[in-house]
Amino acid sequence: MSNALLRRIRPEQFREVILFLVVIGLLVFFSFQINDYFNARSVNRLTTGLAIPLVVAVGQVLVVLTRNIDLSVSSVCGLSAYMVGTLLTRQNDLHPVLALVIAMLIGVVLGAINGLIVAYGGVPAIITTLGTLALYRVVLVEFSGARTVTTAELPDWMNDVPSATLASAGGYDLRLMVGIALVVVILGQLTLRYLPFGRRLYAIGSNPDAARTAGLPVRRDVFLAFTLSGMLAGLAGFMFLVRFGNITVTAAQGLELQVVAAVVVGGVNIFGGSGSMIGALLGVLMIEILQQSLLRWAGISEFVKDAILGLLILVAITADAVILGRLREMWVRVRRRDRELAQSVPADESGVVHGA
């Protein structure tokens, strides 16, 4: 890393680059372990698998930026998948877009409940969403009466959507669902970058008290972040229904931890205030590559996989932190030298991120 470059850019901006390198490293590693790793079918499989966690992760980033967390996403996703699935089995002629909108509305309602309790009720987010994680699942179990939604009862267009393709080159497809997920990521990133609401999320997460004192609408923004997270989890529920077809009461169980892991791995500070959608995208990509590749790694017994997955996650986040730490040290050193050379007043702009 040249000093000239370090003078211009902060190490945090390398975060995504480092993560990207870690992801490439993983791909190279697995391509040596698994035959024909980059064949079209496997790659399509991997990208399709990304869509659902990615959409949920975008909502999670919005919430985590404000120094909160939304653990209820898996129950919201499952509930929305089940309800829309049931609706479609009863009304086979319901328009797909309407079904999608209903799924998102279910998510909006559930997310708004979270948001109300957290932002206006003053209940810490982890308590609220731990509670609604269980409660929404109860609603699902009671509502379902233990019936399973099966693909057979769903309208025929459901069978075509999972393999619907936007663009294709040499067998490598850009599936519709992946397209939707990418649009969500881009919209999310644009929101964070350019909309006042997005900028305020950073301010709130960095220092809630200061944000309040500065007159920012903290409560309204936090409420909105939860509502959006719910909406995206509802959208993910629709995608879940389309992809898996068979919806039981355990649908999407455990998704919350996968998404939180991806977001944290993606460099979003769990104590709020820093992170990006691109980081989350890379985090989801990394976890998904690990999971999918371990499933296909022939030399690996079914019983070793989770042990390896845990280890690899630890290695990846450590690599990320160590590299970032080194860069930060170099950056501080270069800056200090510059400052000493210039004999200027040492203004505090070390840019050291607290916590994490």
Partner: protein, 357 residues
């Protein structure tokens, strides 16, 4: 293989069938007043357990007793939850716990304590492996036979030339599935299955998304695989959907144990030409009869006791031959129903009618 007609069973009128005369000493159940019972499935939210409940309620109505309380833990809390329910059953005034055991031998101390406190523990669907704390196990089918049935279906689907197949199971801790897989591996030693090769056994934890991804991974890992055998109702539909979504329905088939009402589509379009199951409605019905007769003292949990279980006819308590190492008793319900394109639709309709959904 003899086949009990599921339709007749499921739709059969709730009339007590009197002793057929040919059997001696078979007890005809008499109404013995209310018996407070708990029907405890592995966890809530699985269709077949609700079907078992429908059967148990039907039996309770016939015997003039209050219906059992159908309670259970959540999927993620299954083991600890089952232990909790069994431990608290005596304090709750239950005379019998009807348990589909998902806790392996970890339930033994709780079951023994319940028995000591006067609450009978009758297992169904899935027994307590080492038999302690269990009055009797009501087996849906013979577990050894399950292995043979699965091997036969594989042979009938793949034909004489055979080929490679993989097993997609529930969780690695699921005692039934493990027993059935072991039985199948054992059955495969017979030379007539010589052309069938078991490639791998993987686990989908009875979650449809995980089972789906495992099925996809199997397809990727084993290009020459011709069949996925899934001895679990969640796994089999997920595998069928994965095969369908890949457009590989002609090359890869799916079979195993599945709920006809969930499998109709895949059986009719040829992805799952043949699969098997037993009637969970009958299983719940029979389990209730056994429990009721035990609780009212009309039979005792001993080898050789005979009784009549309503519309299902006569049964006998025997030693459990599938658990030879331990001292365990069994009532064997009866043979499999094998489903194919000809009978699957009717069976699915019958289940829907009987479980009132």
């Amino acid at each position: 293989m003899k086949r009990r007609d599921l339709l007749a069973g499921a739709l059969g009128a709730g009339v007590l069938i009197v002793n057929k005369g040919s059997l001696t000493l078979a007890q005809t159940p008499a109404a013995g007043g209310d018996v407070k019972m708990m029907l405890l499935p592995k966890f809530l939210g699985i269709a077949v357990f609700d079907q078992a409940n429908a059967g148990a309620q039907e039996a309770a109505a016939e015997l003039g007793s209050v219906g059992p309380d159908f309670v259970g833990p959540t999927a993620e809390n299954s083991v600890a939850g089952q232990i909790e329910f069994v431990t608290n059953a005596p304090a709750g005034g239950y005379q019998v716990v009807m348990l589909s055991n998902n806790s392996g031998d970890q339930i033994v101390p709780a079951a023994e304590a319940a028995q000591e406190a006067g609450t009978l523990v009758v297992t169904w669907d899935s027994p307590i492996p080492d038999g302690r704390g269990e009055s009797v196990f009501v087996a849906q089918v013979d577990f050894t036979e399950t292995g043979v049935v699965m091997a036969d279906m594989a042979l009938s689907i793949l034909g004489e030339e055979g080929g490679g197949f993989a097993i997609l199971s529930a969780s690695p801790d699921a005692a039934n599935q493990n027993a059935w897989i072991a039985a199948m591996e054992n059955a495969l030693k017979d030379p007539k299955y010589a052309n069938l090769t078991l490639l791998e056994t993987v686990y989908g934890d009875d979650q449809s998304e995980k089972s789906y991804e495992q099925a996809q991974a199997l397809i990727d890992k084993h290009p020459d695989m011709k069949l996925i055998m899934a001895p679990t109702s969640v796994g089999i539909v997920s595998a069928a959907k994965a095969v369908q979504d890949e457009g590989l329905g002609d090359e890869i088939k799916v079979s195993g144990l599945g709920d006809p009402s969930e499998m109709v589509e895949y059986t009719l379009n040829g992805i799952a030409p043949e699969f098997a199951l037993w009637s969970f409605i009958d299983l719940g019905y029979l389990t209730y009869y056994v429990s009721y007769l035990l609780a009212t003292g009309q039979i005792t949990a001993e080898e050789g006791q005979k009784f009549t279980a309503g519309r299902l006819g006569d049964y006998e308590i025997t030693k459990d031959p599938t658990r030879p190492d331990v001292d365990a008793l069994r009532v064997l319900m009866g043979p499999f129903s094998v489903y194919n394109a000809e009978n699957v639709q009717a069976a699915a309709d019958a289940i829907k009618a009987a479980s009132g959904s």
